[in-house]
């Protein structure tokens, strides 16, 4: 066999491997999504004793109950209901919110950017501080700095985030007046500012409205830092663990034998290897913040998907709750899958397999 033939064969094998990977990905994505829909269907239709009563209320006359039951298709067998539900969900039809009277999907589209912005700021803070802290803790294992990082992390794991939010509002807003009150913008700006993407920081910078950018920053910095602390606890801990693992490897000894500086060995050689699993961790914490924002948004009146869900919960608006659950679940799954793909890209050993 000639070299050209061999390389052709290798390339064909590589492409087939890639196709297989994507195929398996697609199947995983599909089954997980199906599972998500099945569970939400179960929660919405099966768990409540009578979903119709949950909608119209206990005291509705029997005729109304029956009419609603037929309207909503609840008189059909469960499996038929499930297929109708599937079809609706796939077309983005989660029903109408009782509370806002809008289609749930439109509501979610409107509030989602707020959550996305908050979680992004949180992850940037968490990863930006958590990774260096974890690296330092690993390099100086057992030192005072290591202990501090460990304790800061443990407290982050143990503190109720909504409580910390309340206390920080008390301190930084009410007492010190460093940050703005809950919400995304001052009331004065709420009516003059027309968002483009819904990510206020980005929109304000894009349209060069610096005063609004500053105002948005003063509103997001506190909830963003809180979520950031939350993810910092997780990221720093995992970084430390990965770095300890890498620093014990033989290639680190080899790098030292080459005469490289400690700084280059730690921040380039070891971290570059630790980065492979770290990407997954950061993606997971990002996904975690999207859901963790439920409590934070409630405390900071942040009009995102978390606040939307809790408001709907308090008003027994099941369509909205389940729609929100599906959307967050889908994003969650998507981020997981994406991090898996990124992992393959970062690690040459798994690349193209």
């Amino acid at each position: 066999m000639t070299a050209i033939e061999a390389s052709k064969l290798a390339r064909r094998r590589r492409i087939r491997g890639l196709a297989l990977t994507f195929g398996r990905f697609a199947i995983m994505l599909a089954t997980t999504f199906l599972g998500l829909l099945a569970v939400t269907f179960f929660i919405g239709r099966v768990v409540p004793i009578d979903p119709v009563l949950a909608i119209v209320g206990d005291r509705a006359p029997a005729a109304v109950v029956e009419r609603v039951r037929e309207q909503m298709g609840f008189n059909l067998p469960l499996w038929q209901q499930f297929f109708i539900y599937l079809r609706q969900a796939l077309t983005g039809d989660f029903g109408v919110s009782v509370l806002t009277t809008n289609p749930v999907f439109d509501d979610i589209l409107r509030v989602f950017p707020a959550t996305l912005e908050l979680a992004t700021v949180g992850t940037l803070i968490g990863a930006g501080l958590g990774v260096p802290l974890g690296v330092i803790a690993a390099v100086r294992r057992g030192s005072f700095a290591d202990q501090i990082v460990r304790i800061v992390g443990l407290i982050g794991y143990s503190v109720p985030i909504f409580w910390l939010g309340l206390l920080s509002l008390l301190l930084f807003y009410a007492r010190l007046k460093w940050v703005a009150y809950p919400g995304r913008l001052d009331v004065a700006y709420e009516y003059t500012f027309t968002p483009i993407t819904g990510l206020y920081l980005f929109d304000a910078a894009w349209t060069r409205q610096w005063d609004i950018l500053w105002d948005a920053f003063r509103h997001i910095i506190l909830p963003g830092s809180l979520l950031g602390y939350f993810s910092l606890a997780y990221i720093s801990r995992m970084t430390r663990s990965f770095m300890l693992n890498e620093l014990g490897q033989e290639y680190i000894v080899a790098a030292r034998a080459k005469g490289l500086s400690e700084r280059r060995i730690v921040w380039f050689h070891a971290l570059r290897n630790a980065a492979v699993p770290l990407v997954t961790v950061i993606a997971l914490s990002y996904a975690g913040l999207l859901e963790g924002s439920v409590l934070t948004e409630t405390v900071f009146s942040w009009p995102g998907i978390g606040l939307y869900i809790t408001n709907s919960l308090q008003n027994a608006d099941m369509n909205a709750v389940l729609g929100g659950t599906i959307v967050i679940g889908t994003v969650f799954i998507a981020i997981n899958m994406f991090s898996d793909l990124l992992y393959r890209l970062l690690d040459p050993r798994t690349r193209m397999r």
């Binding site: 998500l36 443990l154 008390l170 709750v321």
Partner: protein, 310 residues
């Protein structure tokens, strides 16, 4: 007697640490002693243990310890007293109830939630994981697919949706948290099972004619226990936080139950002027979940030296 009393501790240690134990009992005690020594060298872990033991004791003797009633307050004379007021060490809330007493009685709820979730979720995860790992093939594929689906869910949101459907209340909160907690245990148990499934001692038991049920229950499950216990202990803080979060959103325990998360929610209105109403229960949650985290960390280091210090 003077002679033996001075040498007893030494010989006790020798007996425990001997390389040639005479009975299974002695070997087991020896292992436990070594583990305990490693655990007790870790000051943070011991702190965690002390916190949890204190929590258990407080919960048991709550009726004796609480200076006031946890649910009935003195509306006329003791509303919103600051900490340190006579008879109200941590202050009182808007209904004139002693916060300290509510925290003490509330420890029972916290402990009950944690224990119930662990009792429900851990065995479910253990069973699914060991069966999947031992059976392999289709059983494994299907069970793990289901586990992965649950694992892919955001936990708190799923719990929220469950509670929304079941109706608010502490029992439903426990069910919802348990429903979302088992998948990691199943994963863990499966991994451990795969590790021992093909080992010689399992083959030996099989040759002796043990049924698959017996192998799984008597010979595989015990191997998963230590890592499962560590994992559950580490998760307890998360369970407490989720339960408190549900309480804070008004979906967990309902007033006037002295559940700590619910207490924070009701104290929220007074946060600007009567900060202690919301602060004290939050501190309690922080201390207890910190205790579980420290304990879990210490247990992991002691039971699994490979991971020590990680």
């Amino acid at each position: 007697m003077t002679d033996s009393s001075s040498s007893t501790p030494e010989s006790w240690r020798d007996w425990l640490l001997t390389a040639e134990p005479h009975s299974r009992h002695q070997a087991r005690l020896g292992r436990a002693y070594v583990t305990w020594r490693r655990f007790s060298e870790n000051r943070l872990a011991v702190t965690g243990l002390v916190i949890i033991l204190a929590l258990v004791l407080i919960a048991i003797f709550a009726d004796l310890l609480a200076p006031h009633s946890a649910t009935v307050g003195n509306l006329a004379g003791a509303r919103l007293l600051p900490p340190g007021s006579s008879g109200f060490l941590l202050g009182s809330d808007d209904q004139g109830r002693d916060i300290l007493s509510r925290l003490i009685v509330g420890s029972r709820i916290t402990l009950a939630v944690v224990a119930l979730v662990a009792i429900i979720a851990a065995p479910v995860g253990l069973l699914i994981g060991t069966v999947a790992g031992f059976a392999g093939g289709y059983v494994d594929a299907v069970l793990m697919r289901i586990t992965d689906i649950f694992l892919a869910f955001p936990k708190l949101i799923l719990a929220l949706a469950f509670v929304a459907a079941l109706g608010p209340g502490i029992e439903n909160a426990v069910i919802a948290i348990a429903l979302t907690s088992w998948p990691p245990y199943a994963r863990l148990a499966r991994a451990e099972t795969l590790g021992v499934r093909n080992s010689d001692y399992i083959a030996a038991v099989r040759l002796m004619g043990a049924s698959p049920t017996r192998i799984v229950v008597r010979h595989i499950m015990p191997m998963c226990l230590s890592s499962l216990i560590v994992r559950v202990t580490l998760d307890m803080a998360g369970i407490i936080l989720t339960a408190a979060g549900l309480g804070f959103l008004g979906l967990g325990a309902q007033p006037p139950m002295p559940e700590w998360g619910t207490m924070i929610a009701s104290g929220r209105r007074f946060i600007l002027d009567q900060w202690w109403v919301a602060t004290m229960p939050g501190l309690a949650i922080l201390v207890v979940s910190l205790g579980f985290n420290l304990l879990g960390d210490g247990l992991r280091d002691a039971l699994d030296p490979r991971e020590a210090g990680r």
